[in-house]
Symmetry: C2
Subunit: 317 residues, 2 copies
């Protein structure tokens, strides 16, 4: 009888991992950088070195049913990461196989955002929902789409790449994908930073606390800190980001008519600053049959927890 599962959530910047019990409690967790590891081999070595003591602490590998992994462009059907634009590791990476060989445990892998959606459905505010979409507003923009209680995988396992849908045709170039005007170019932490740099350059006459940061140090977090102090440009950045995000959400609603959209990730720390313009733009762009029906909310799970729990849930069945 296996008592534990490992959940690993690989994000563009950081990887979070933990030991999870059958009741959905994270017993121990830790994190490591994703993008500081040049090769995936090196990354797996570091992961294993950090996890081995955790595994031993609860009784050794025999106590584990296996490992669930959420990763950008992770494919449930193949166990591969395929051409992830936000990772350094290029091409097709047989990650499930590589982790399985290193850990000597069964491994299942899916898209990181799908894993978060599963976590939200099992342990979060989507517990009673059968039709919802989760949007992760992190380094990139991820999405997990649940239809009739099941993760939408599509015919090849790649469904739900909503961050790469085009919302400003001909707009900002995404450095990872080469696509112009995708949602991720605007509504991610990276996008918010870029909007800040653009607006500061466009409006040299407008004073802003953001000008006190060096260009290297300016992040979406700086924008948040300045916005709550009432900085005009910082607030304008959130309004602009919310406008674009809300338009995109309206499009998603008209595709699958979900009961709720759940927002996760770093940008949601901005609270009403991002929620209010997003909700307004979403409602403004919906057909009447959809207006005032979709619950737009922030995840109630701790940021890392949903993804670790969701990833671990992959392996229980």
């Amino acid at each position: 009888m296996s008592d534990f599962a490992i959940g690993i959530d690989i994000g563009g910047t950081n990887t979070k991992f933990g030991v999870v019990d059958r009741n959905g409690h994270i017993i121990i967790q830790d994190r490591t950088s994703t993008n500081e590891h040049e090769t995936v081999q090196e990354f797996i070595e570091v992961l294993y070195a950090k996890m081995k003591p955790m595994i031993d602490k609860v009784g050794g590998p025999d106590k584990f049913v296996g490992v669930g992994v959420g990763a950008p462009n992770g494919n449930f059907y193949t166990g591969n990461i395929e051409y992830a634009p936000n990772l350094k590791w290029r091409g097709i990476i047989p990650l499930a196989k590589m982790i399985s060989e290193k850990f000597d445990l069964r491994v299942k892998l899916t898209n990181d955002a799908n894993a978060a959606a599963v976590g939200e459905m099992m342990y979060g505010c989507a517990k009673d929902l059968r039709h919802f979409i989760t949007i992760t507003l992190g380094t990139g923009v991820g999405s997990g789409i649940v239809i009739d209680g099941k993760i939408l995988l599509g015919h090849d396992g790649f469904a739900g790449e909503l961050g790469h849908t085009i919302i400003r045709p001909g707009g900002r170039m995404h450095k990872g994908t080469g696509l112009r005007g995708s949602l991720e170019s605007y509504a991610s932490a990276t996008g918010v930073r870029e909007t800040a740099l653009e607006l500061l350059a466009e409006k040299p006459e407008v004073g802003s606390l953001l000008r006190d940061y060096s260009i290297n140090d300016l992040t979406s977090q700086s924008v948040f800190e300045c916005a709550i102090k009432g900085d005009t440009i910082a607030n304008e950045i959130f309004d602009f980001t919310g406008q674009i995000l809300g338009e995109a959400l309206a499009n998603f609603v008209m595709f699958s008519s979900p009961e709720a959209i759940i927002l996760f990730g770093g940008l949601t720390k901005a609270g009403d600053l991002i929620m209010n313009p997003t909700r307004k733009a979403m409602e403004d762009n919906l057909l009447p049959i959809f207006k005032n029906k979709v619950k737009l909310m922030f995840s109630e799970l701790k940021e890392a927890d949903a993804a670790i729990l969701g990833a671990s849930a992959l392996i229980w069945d």
Copy 2:
């Protein structure tokens, strides 16, 4: 034992209907105008007057299992047409109930585009597909989304309104919905006519066969006729329309990762003129994991047949 079903396909301009047998053959069919009937009561009277002789011809109402209806904004769960922007009849119309009372037969109703997708899956080129999207390029732009062999209805029955997704934010105003920049504003017969009028006004210096038509007579059909004669502006209109349609299709692919997208409706008569720019724009806007994988094709069913067959299929179960 019932041998026949009635299939009714209500479009923005015309309504097509027919008697269908258990093998999916349309025994008799006819059509009437949709938008010339001021009230829905009048419309149902005309439908009944035209269908009664058809029903009697094959043995009377006892031979019928019921009526399946595809209608704009038709809701499978409620049997209502709700706030259809392309119909004259406003608000919520309990159409299934009204037809059932008039015909004294069981009635099931769904979105017209969903009905076409069912027809395509049962009798058309989607016979072996479990993940596909149908897009109807008619007076408006309709869509039916099939996931794992089932029509996507969403939590309330309204999923699949892809014609109303925003693809040119702040763009052309849709007279029916008040939304700006929706796909339907560009990639419908109405949209093509509007693009023609815009381009002709913008480029008074460019000669065009389209200038021989009166503004009232200029339709998407005129644009097609001029384009095959090599008219520059007419060809430009199809390139523009295909560009926008292709971008929208790329977004849909990144949502649900279908095996195929099947195009229907009047605009598809333009063949390669619309297919080539659409395919190019779709591929240009896809992430590498989706490129050159999605079959983009025209329906092989006769235009009216898919919708009549699909509507009738609703009632067989």
